[in-house]
């Protein structure tokens, strides 16, 4: 084990801080600390257990400080990987993910990861090194205007110009990231600020007079919502990622059970309710189930909770839920009535509001509506024909069965992502780790690694596409070197399948630049030091999945699947949810 270079005249908390302390509980002394020490102590004070990152010139003082830190450091292969790992960690644990990148190219490499987290409201704190304050604005070596670059794609960002502000800003950054509607926060720290020392104790008092997220729901609004729900004949709950972020799924499930309310979730909220529940309609929207979309189109009361009426959900907005009184529960007032007029807005934390709503919800007999919904479910289940080549859907269903529907699953973006949402069989919150809002290909591999680090005892599987996997597969090296036993299943259809599907359906099968051939991914994975297998026959599926699950370390399963399978049902972009197409599955009647 290398020893810490002597020559620093400060005492730092060593093994005593090995277990993350409860935030703010310890009395924190920062007097005479350097900026790098302030950074390190504040992170420990925030209870950070792992950081994902990559070093560089302006980060040298910080890297020297975290040499032998009790905080685990995961050196990634690319800063995008660091951001997505922090994101996967955050989504799966509910804690703030932390990533670290150097100035200039390091920071610009984070951008995709920050935008991904921002669109899905994921709490991250990203620390970027910056050139020294006297050089800012000079086009210095590796200078980039990180504040300017990240402003539109983060919840907030800070440039710290004085070491005495650093502790307070870090505290504010964590606070902003995790409260209200969560999101990524960037703290850009010039190298001289990390070197400079404090004269005395810095102030830690947060100075955020403009940041007061409204958390407790307004009781008259909650009562109005309950009355509208109780009075409705054909209610449906439309649940989004906000319910997961607010840890409100217990209250949600009780409301569903007590009110006998059919419920559909967005991609980000899969698992908010157990899909095996008769009242679950699974996903709604462009690739949602017939039952979910019909229920929304025919309901008389739509209860949106922690959802934001994204265009992939609503289809043509003008005809979305045309008969419904709309109730919208959201912590972000700006989300309410942004896309769809709302009759009863309820602003606040979903857990608080649902907790208060529960006792007000009555069990009402709505047999005709429940019978109707059950009939849609029965008549139009999600299905596929397991014939010929391996179907991507059957791989996903097999993984669901083999993991008891209990694994944490990340995805890339494309057809495989939609099939994963449709066929895994979601049971609990924080199971799906997927880029919904930004739709970031390449998210799956690093997100799975971050999730596995946050949940070492859980099975974590990236169900990926060949295109998406190729973008970030280099991070499998990170998994190997850090003994992170995440699994990676590549549904290789030899196409950028989702684009091919649109070209097939809307561009007369002109497959323009979507053929995507992969090398032998099992060989690549073995070269990286992971274990691997390849399947191309139906009969090999079960054995290969068992082998993968039995393996402790990272494992890549390269599955060669039917290249021309399509995702259905599908509501073509801009069409009404009534205009679902079932494609090969048949017709709507």
């Amino acid at each position: 084990m290398p020893r810490k270079t002597p020559g620093k005249n400060t005492q730092k908390p060593k093994a005593s801080a090995a277990k993350p302390a409860a935030r703010g509980k310890r009395t924190l002394s920062l007097a005479h600390c350097s900026g790098a020490e302030v950074f390190h102590r504040m992170l420990q004070d925030e209870g950070v257990e792992v950081m994902f990152g990559y070093p560089g010139g302006v980060l040298l003082p910080i890297f020297d400080e975290i040499y032998q830190s009790p905080i685990r450091f995961i050196l990634t292969r690319h800063e995008q990987g660091a951001a997505h790992m922090a994101d996967g960690y955050a989504r799966s644990t509910g804690r703030v993910g932390v990533c670290l990148a150097t100035s200039g190219p390091g920071a610009t490499n984070l951008v995709t990861g920050l935008a991904t987290a921002n669109m899905d409201s994921i709490p991250l704190v990203a620390i970027t090194g910056q050139v020294r304050t006297s050089l800012i604005g000079n086009d210095a070596f590796q200078e980039a205007d990180v504040s300017g670059l990240t402003r539109p794609i983060t919840k907030h960002n800070f440039l710290v110009k004085d070491v005495k502000d650093l502790a307070r800003v870090l505290r504010e950054a964590f606070h902003i990231a995790r409260t209200g509607r969560p999101g990524p926060v960037v703290v850009d720290i010039p190298v001289d600020v990390t070197v400079n020392r404090l004269d005395g104790e810095p102030s830690l008092a947060m100075n955020l007079p403009g940041y007061k997220p409204l958390l407790t729901g307004h009781m008259p609004q909650i009562r109005a919502a309950a009355e509208a729900i109780n009075a409705s004949q054909r209610p449906v709950l439309y649940v989004g990622g906000g319910v997961i972020l607010a840890n409100a799924c217990d209250a949600l499930r009780r409301i569903v059970a007590k009110g006998r309310l059919p419920v559909t979730t967005t991609l980000l909220a899969m698992g908010a309710v157990d899909e095996s529940d008769a009242l679950s309609l699974q996903m709604l929207g462009m690739h949602g189930t017939v039952a979910a979309n019909r229920a929304v189109q025919n309901c008389d009361c739509l209860v949106a909770i922690g959802a934001r009426f994204d265009d992939r959900v609503t289809g043509k907005v003008a005809t979305f839920a045309p008969h419904a009184k709309v109730i919208h529960v959201d912590v972000d007032p700006a989300s309410i009535a942004k896309n769809v007029p709302v009759d009863i807005p309820v602003v606040g934390d979903a857990a608080d509001i649902l907790g208060k709503l529960l006792p007000l919800i009555r069990t009402v007999d709505r047999s005709p509506w429940l019978a109707q919904v059950a009939e849609w479910k029965k008549k139009f289940p999600l299905r596929y024909a397991a014939q010929g080549k391996i179907k991507p859907q059957e791989m996903i269903a097999a993984i669901g069965a083999a993991t008891d529907h209990n694994a944490i699953i990340s995805t890339g973006v494309g057809q495989h992502q939609m099939w994963t949402a449709q066929f895994y069989g979601w049971r609990r919150p924080r199971q799906i780790i997927t880029s919904g809002g930004l739709g970031t290909m390449g998210f799956g591999v690093p997100a799975a690694i971050g999730a596995k680090i946050g949940n070492p005892k859980s099975t974590v599987i990236d169900i990926d596409g060949d295109g998406s996997f190729s973008m970030t597969m280099v991070e499998i090296i990170t998994a190997v070197h850090n003994d992170v036993g995440a699994k990676f299943v590549v549904l290789d259809n030899e196409y950028l399948g989702m684009v091919r599907q649109w070209q097939e359906l809307f561009y007369g099968k002109r497959y323009s630049h979507v053929v995507h051939r992969c090398p032998d991914l099992a060989a690549v994975a073995r070269g990286f030091g992971a274990q691997a297998a390849t399947v191309s026959e139906r009969t090999e599926i079960a054995g290969a999945i068992d082998e993968m699950l039995a393996c402790d370390g990272p494992f890549v399963l390269h599955a060669k699947v039917d290249p021309e399978e399509n995702v259905f049902p599908m509501v073509p972009a801009g069409k009404s949810l009534d205009e679902m197409e079932l494609g090969e599955l048949g017709t709507l009647a």
């Binding site: 402003r151 919840k155 440039l159 902003i176 403009g210 940041y211 972000d332 007032p333």
Partner: protein
């Protein structure tokens, strides 16, 4: 409908860029945006004039409030308030035209702040309408140059978020 919105913001670098960037990114059109100090050295006031339907303006207000250094947002529509825009306008004014121009300036309670051989510079403050009316009247003389500050506004009465006296000019 025209809305005058006032936002108190924390006085820190980047706030203007953040607010302006938010307007641009969300495709909100604004007529003017003015930033200036307030009675509190930690806060600045932004006054934004925007035209749009009520739903768009509601989004503008909410998105503005969401910006973290924005402490308070107020839409003056429907409230009783005073607004002022300040203008400097350099008008073509040969000697023979000066008396009638001076009369016009007097009528609008403006003041002549500079006179040269061929031009006269007038300072005028008031509502946007008043300034537009003046511009209209002097246009035939030839407007050489014109600069306006954009609108600032304040609610009438004993609002405690300002120490300044109520302007009873109009």
């Amino acid at each position: 409908m025209r809305h005058v919105i006032s936002a108190l913001v924390q006085n820190q670098p980047g706030v203007l860029a953040q607010v302006a960037g938010m307007f641009a990114a969300r495709g909100f059109n604004i007529d003017s945006l003015v930033v200036g100090r307030t009675e509190n050295p930690d806060l600045s006031r932004m006054t934004i004039v925007a035209v749009g339907d009520d739903r768009v303006l509601e989004q503008v207000r909410k998105q503005l409030a969401k910006v973290i250094p924005v402490v308070k947002v107020r839409d003056f529509s429907g409230l009783s308030y005073v607004e002022r825009d300040l203008m400097l306008v350099k008008i073509g004014a040969p000697a023979e035209k000066r008396p009638e121009l001076a009369q016009l300036v007097e009528l609008f309670r403006g003041s002549v702040v500079d006179v040269a051989r061929a031009t006269m510079t007038v300072q005028l403050s008031g509502t946007e309408d008043k300034l537009e009316a003046f511009i209209d009247l002097v246009r035939p003389y030839g407007i050489v140059e014109l600069a306006r500050t954009g609108t600032i506004a304040m609610q009438r009465g004993q609002q405690k978020h300002t120490r300044e006296k109520n302007d009873s000019d109009e």
